[in-house]
Amino acid sequence: MTGGRVSSKKYVGSKVSIVRWRPAASHYTPTDTFVSGTWDDGENEVCVWRVPECDDDPNLQHHLTHQGNVNDIQYVTRDTFATASSTGSVHLYQHNVGGHLEHKTSWKQIHSFRTSHAPCTGLTSNGDQIASVGEDGKLVIINPGQERPVRTMESVGGCSVYTGGVLSCISCVTESVGGCSVYTAVYVRANEILTGSLQGYLRLWDIRAPQPTKATLHSLDQVGVYDLAVHPTQQHLVAAGGEDGALAIWDLRNTTQPFTIIAAHNGPMSEVSFHPGAPDHLFTGGLDGQLLHWDASASATPTHSHITPYTPTRQHQGGSVTVWVSSAVCNGCVDTTSIIPPSPLPINSLDIDGTTLIAASDNEAIYTVRQVMLY
């Protein structure tokens, strides 16, 4: 399994909370640039890195200071990305010619508690709008072209208002912010957002509708949901990484319970990511310092399991039939391999593009794993 895999570790001198590949310019050239954000330091930074073609460590291209911890980074277009700050703000940055970054604009303190700012925890984008969630339990929709947020939805965290259906005698219906921290959000479709919260609720939002909640999904035992990932081609399939280190696969067509839950990590999961081109493969990172590769391709039907070299230019045929809802996966029959020797400190983030995976840890290291085996 580990034959061709080459991993390297670069110490960068500050704890890295997030790494994201810059989207490739075209289908024919894999991307070689990624951005990273730091946290928990006197002065936090957003950095641009370039990965050389040989097996060398990534090189720092440019860095800018960032106010507050960088909790999440999300590309809106190929050249612009948004960062989620622990000060409750969202910042927009742009790649300039020559590898430099430029701070374009900010939406200041769109997340706040009664008396102070609330950290912004997650971002998602459909290429047009940005949705941001925070510890205050709000979901805020931002249009990159506009100064003010387009829409704010409160009590996303599942701390919604119960309007006492039974009780005619004491009744009062007002909007209130229950405020459970929301940790992650992801665009399922162009107008539908799924959020995951501290208390383990997944909520599906249709942002066009006046009453935006579409469905609420409960994980068992209030296991907090730390990260969500949508299957790149089968958008009803969602993988949720939980506080207990288990991966829950949800089929949004059946919201009563998760399709399957597979335990793997010894601590909360920090990030879950499907491979964009070969979605039978999934990668997770956890606070236990492990970086796992989940390979469900063995459960694929025979027509899909023959050896085909991975080419990013071609639509992967696994897209038509999804192995993640097969009975084998349901029985927990997924190959998990640890990609790197476990780090003593949490793996905070990972991202994969083509055959190269990058990951960031609290050990102040950025891992670059080349030739991650996909078939």
């Binding site: 110490y11 001198g13 500050s14 704890k15 946290w39 928990d40 330091d41 006197g42 911890n69 909790n71 622990s86 508690f113 009664r114 008396t115 950290p119 925890t121 510890e135 339990g137 599942g158 701390c159 919604s160 208002v161 119960y162 309007t163 006492g164 259906g165 039974v166 009780l167 005619s168 005698c169 004491i170 009744s171 009062c172 007002t174 209130s176 912010v177 229950g178 405020g179 459970c180 921290s181 501290l198 208390q199 609720y201 409960h218 035992d221 209030q222 506080e243 010894n266 601590g267 909360p268 606070l287 236990d288 780090s343 003593p344 400190l345 949490p346 609290d362 050990n363 102040e364 290291a365």
Partner: protein, 654 residues
């Protein structure tokens, strides 16, 4: 004491006149910072006039170490991995022979880290102040020098205890100028015209690089004359001891003496009389102390001189020879060098095999706990279970504790600090708990990380206290949903009860529930406290009612009432909830249950009226008023229901 001295002797003062020349209080925190403030008592006594209207400030004084630089942080983070894997392997046990390769490997890992750091500090960060960078590079160089010497002397020991070969390599790698100059000379058209042609050759001889010497000599125009050929032969034939070469030390000594005898013979026979330069080389080969001594400026330092001298006088030197040789070398160089530097003292202590002194000196000189800690740890594992090195165990723990204390004081490196604390006994465990407990919880993310670290180490009290703090904070912000989640996690019955009360009270006030989904899914966590159980059950009642399961709902409600789980202020609500059930066309509440309700109503009635008499203006008074209005309704419904129930029960029985 109006100034705070740093690790060095440097002094500086806080620029605040209030503090000037006056007693002040000092609070030292967990880690390397102090808070300095004017002493209140004194301030009142003498400062009445002077300080009036002046601000009194608190100053936080932190020591700054080069460890906080970007480069050093890489070192810190990289070394923790090596440290942990070393501990793991050592814990797995194994004999001394199995341990040695690991120790050597780990020692080299540390050295390569230092070297990488050294290279990077040269290449990158040109914006850094020149002198700082230089100082940092110097520290790294010294650490590497010391560590590699200790590796040779103590860790990577060879059978027979012969150390010289390794020492020669050590000297070569730390004084590379001769080799650099040699390449430079050979690149030119006429190497022998290089201004320091002979100096390079002497230098190479003193470092034992005889092949390089021969290469240099072969570029001399007279290379094929007799003296040169004779010298070439001598250089070629010099025996080197190979540990695994199949030659015993005694046999080697014989060969070596034979070779040196040959050198002396040729010297006496005047082979090199025509060429004084070659004569010098031959004298070195013969181990002539005066000649080697006279060339001492080519060796830069006493330890280089010592190695060169030993190379040609005592090639089978063992560790215990070094102390004497080192003293001689120092004696010799003292005339030229005025004082012994701290580095010299460390190296000397190492050659005297005084590990305690080495650690002590390192600690005093190198201004960082990083090196001493890792060094002591390596030595501790090397001399594991050797009686005369017993002190290393305690020393190691203390040093690790100190180092992790420094790390824990850093705002970003506290996690690394905790990792080290896992390996220094009970005091480490206690310290780790304090570090985790005191970490400022700036966001959920930090809280989760602290909880995770505490949970891994089974610090249940820390997990509890962190969750409690988070819950309390959420409560202050009126985020009851989060508060109860953290409350449940903290397993703190009193706190969860408190939150449950809050939720119930809010429900009484405005008839809505915070975070109902959480309450609906409490599961076994519900049993944490009575109030929480009640809250969960009460939510269950709502669910049953909504689903139209009136019978079950009624049973649950009555059992809630009769179990006395409900707080008193909630009784009216429960009775009001019973009202629609009582009014059901088909009786769902039995006569037994009706009696219970009537009993409760009566109790409540008495309580309310007595309250009223006492004229207690409480917040719930309005609620009670409203309740009294409804009381008639309830009584009526109860009576009706009782009648219906009795009839129904009677019918069924017959």
């Amino acid at each position: 004491m109006d100034s705070v001295s740093r690790g060095t002797e440097e002094k500086w003062a806080l620029p605040d006149p209030v503090l000037l020349g006056r007693m002040h209080g000092v609070v030292s925190s967990l880690c390397n910072s102090l808070v300095v403030f004017p002493h209140r008592h004194r301030l009142h006594q003498e400062g009445s006039q002077l300080e009036r209207g002046r601000e009194v400030r608190l100053y936080q004084v932190e020591s700054f170490s080069w460890l906080w630089g970007r480069q050093a942080r890489k070192l810190i983070n990289e070394s923790v991995g090596t440290f942990l894997s070393l501990q793991k392997i050592m814990q797995e046990g194994g004999g001394a022979e199995e341990r040695k390769p690991t120790l050597v490997k780990k020692c080299r890992e540390y050295r390569s880290m230092i070297q990488a750091s050294m290279e990077e500090s040269i290449i990158f960060e040109p914006e850094e102040v020149e002198s700082d960078l230089h100082a940092y590079g110097q520290v790294l160089y010294k650490m590497e020098l010391i560590l590699s010497l200790l590796e040779i002397l103590f860790i990577d020991t060879k059978p027979g205890g012969l150390v010289l070969n390794q020492l020669v390599v050590w000297v070569r790698s730390h004084f590379p100028t001769n080799h650099e100059k040699k390449s430079e000379a050979l690149e030119s058209d006429h190497p022998h015209q290089h201004p320091s042609y002979w100096e390079i050759i002497y230098g190479l001889v003193l470092q034992g690089s005889l092949d390089d010497v021969r290469q240099m000599l072969s570029h001399h125009p007279r290379a094929d004359t007799d003296p040169f050929l004779s010298m070439d032969e001598l250089l070629r034939k010099m025996p080197f001891y190979q540990v695994y070469g199949g030659v015993s030390a005694a046999e080697f000594t014989v060969r070596w003496q034979h070779w040196q005898g040959e050198c002396e013979r040729r010297l006496e026979e005047g082979h090199f009389a025509t060429c004084p330069k070659l004569l010098t080389i031959c004298k070195i080969l013969c181990g002539d102390l005066d000649t080697i001594g006279s060339l001492w400026d080519l060796t830069d330092t006493w330890y280089h001189l010592m190695v060169s001298t030993l190379l040609y006088t005592n090639p089978t030197a063992k560790l215990f020879h070094l102390a004497g040789a080192a003293q001689d070398a120092i004696e010799h160089t003292r005339g030229n060098h005025s004082a012994i530097t701290p580095l010299d003292r460390i190296l000397l202590a190492a050659m005297e095999a005084d590990t305690h002194q080495v650690i002590k000196e390192c600690q005093q000189v190198l201004d960082n706990p990083w090196f001493t800690t890792h060094l002591t740890d390596l030595l501790y594992h090397t001399f594991y279970q050797q009686a005369e090195f017993k002190f290393l165990g305690d020393l190691r723990e203390t040093l690790i504790l100190e180092y992790s204390e420094v790390l824990s004081g850093h705002r970003s490196l506290w996690q690394v600090g905790v990792l080290y604390l896992d390996h220094c006994g009970t005091s480490g465990v206690a310290m780790a708990q304090v570090v985790l407990e005191r970490r400022p919880l700036t966001s959920d993310a930090v809280a989760h990380k602290v909880v995770q670290m505490a949970r891994d180490r089974k610090f249940d009290n820390v997990v509890m206290s962190v969750c409690r703090v988070m819950g309390r904070r959420a409560l202050d912000l009126d985020r009851l949903g989060s508060a109860i989640w953290w409350g449940v996690r903290s397993r703190d019955a009193a706190f969860t009860s408190h939150i449950a009360h809050k939720i119930l009270q809010r429900y009484v006030e405005d008839g809505k529930f915070e975070s109902s989904p959480l309450l609906d899914q409490l599961g076994p966590a519900m049993l944490l406290s009575d109030t929480l159980t009640f809250l969960g059950k009460y939510r269950e009642f709502h669910m049953l009612y909504q689903d139209g399961k009136y019978q079950e709902a009624a049973t649950l409600l009555v059992s809630l009432i009769s179990s006395k789980l409900a707080p008193e202020y909630f009784w009216p609500v429960l009775l009001l909830d019973a009202l629609p059930l009582l009014k059901c066309p088909k009786p769902v509440i039995t006569s037994e249950q009706t009696y219970e309700l009537m009993y409760l109503l009566n109790n409540l009635h008495t309580a309310t009226t007595t309250n009223k008499e006492k004229q207690n203006g409480t917040a719930t008074e309005a609620g009670q008023e409203a309740f009294l209005e409804k009381e008639r309704d309830i009584r009526l419904a109860l009576t009706n229901n009782l009648a219906k129930a009795i009839i129904k029960e009677g019918t069924v029985e017959s």
